[in-house]
Each structure stands twice: as C-alpha cells, then as structure tokens.
Amino acid sequence: MVFGQLSEIINASELALLAINNTNELNKILFELYPILEEMKFTIAVNKKIIHENTPLNHKDIVALLPPFSGG
C-alpha cells in the first residue's frame, strides 16, 4: 500500500511485487523502479507496524510505504 505523495510518484495506491524476502530487498527494488524515491523520506510499515530494521516478508504480509505524516 502506498500513501500521500508517494502514491503520486508510483502512480498507484497498491503495488504487486512478487518473491521479496525482506524489507531491504524491497527498498532495493523500489529504488531501481523509482530512482526518485532515494531522495524522499518514507518509513515502511509491515502489518500496520512501523519497522526500524530489516524485516523478513512473507507472502501474506501487508507492506505500506508511508511518507512523513501531516495530520492535524
């Protein structure tokens, strides 16, 4: 799932990527597909929890790319 300004760059709110083993691998693929992401701040949530280090991914995990929050 992709939110905020990131959904404009990726031009979708969902992205199907197969056979990714962990979040480091995900980042690498995303930076290849969308080089501009390297210049952007975002965090990754796996199953609705923000992760702070490389995290293994399973087939059913829900991964979300979150740009900086600006609620309120």
């Binding site: 939110f3 905020g4 949530a45 979300a64 900086p68 929050f69 600006s70 609620g71 309120g72």
Partner: protein, 147 residues
C-alpha cells in the same frame, strides 16, 4: 478508568461547531468532571510560493491509524487521571477556516486535562499515518509538512 472499545475517530469532511457543542453537552451528566480542555485544528490559508491554500484534502492509512489512536488512548488513561477523552479527525476535503481536528479531554482537575490534551495532540501529529494535501486556489497542490 479505561474504556476498552475502539472509538470512531475519522469524520468525512470538516468538523462542525454543532458537532463540538453536542459533544460538550453530552458531558453535563458526568458530574465528577471539573475541567475540559479542547484542542481544535483549523485549516490556515498559508501562502506557499506565492500561492494561497484554499483547502486541505486529508487521507489516512485508516486501519493503522485506528490502531494507533487506540494505543494513544490506552496510554493516556494510564498516564493521566482523566475521566474521558475523544479524538476526531477529518478525512477528505476541509476548507480554510474549517476544523479538521478535535481533541476533547475531561478530568476532575484542570492540570490533568491540560497536560493530557497537549500530549494527545503531539502524539497525533507525530505518530499517526495521516496526510494533508494542500490544495491551492488555482487547484494545484503540495503536500503538507508538520512542524
């Protein structure tokens, strides 16, 4: 005192003064309350690169945000001696001058109401996955950045 059930936080569009009045009125039966603190976020007509903001369009990762609102709530009841608290946040379009955030904390004494309300607002701004798209008068947009 903790309330375990999840409360509805997101409201489509602006939060109206009438909605706020109704929320206040509902507390008149809770006669252990001596102090309410209410925070309201209002959409400003900020000028960015010579363009004026006309509205903010809010979006959220709703399921994740709802979990976080619930966690914030539980932690606030542990940390402060309050009677009740309510959070409402807009989704969708909110025009300048309209209200997009309503945090309402009630306590026996004022210090707990003030401190808890302030704490909740800071946590909402820092922790919850909500995004504001600032729409200019010419219909272009930029993405809001919280400070």
């Amino acid at each position: 005192m903790t309330e375990k059930k999840k409360h509805k936080v997101f409201i489509q569009g602006a939060i109206t003064p009438t909605f706020i009045a109704d929320s206040i009125a509902k507390h008149s039966g809770k006669t252990t309350i001596g102090a309410h603190d209410i925070f309201l976020g209002q959409v400003r007509n900020d000028m960015i690169d010579h363009k004026t903001v006309a509205a903010i369009e809010y979006s959220a990762y709703e399921e994740m945000a709802e979990n976080l609102f619930h966690e914030i709530r539980e932690a606030i009841f542990v940390k402060y001696d309050i009677v009740c608290m309510h959070i409402y946040h807009s989704l969708g379009l909110v025009k300048t001058g309209e209200i997009c955030l309503f945090v309402f904390v009630s306590a026996k004494h004022r210090k707990n109401a003030f401190d808890a309300c302030h704490d909740i607002v800071e946590q909402i701004k820092a922790m919850t996955p909500i995004w504001g798209k600032e729409i200019f008068e010419d219909e272009t947009h930029t993405w809001k950045i919280n400070n």
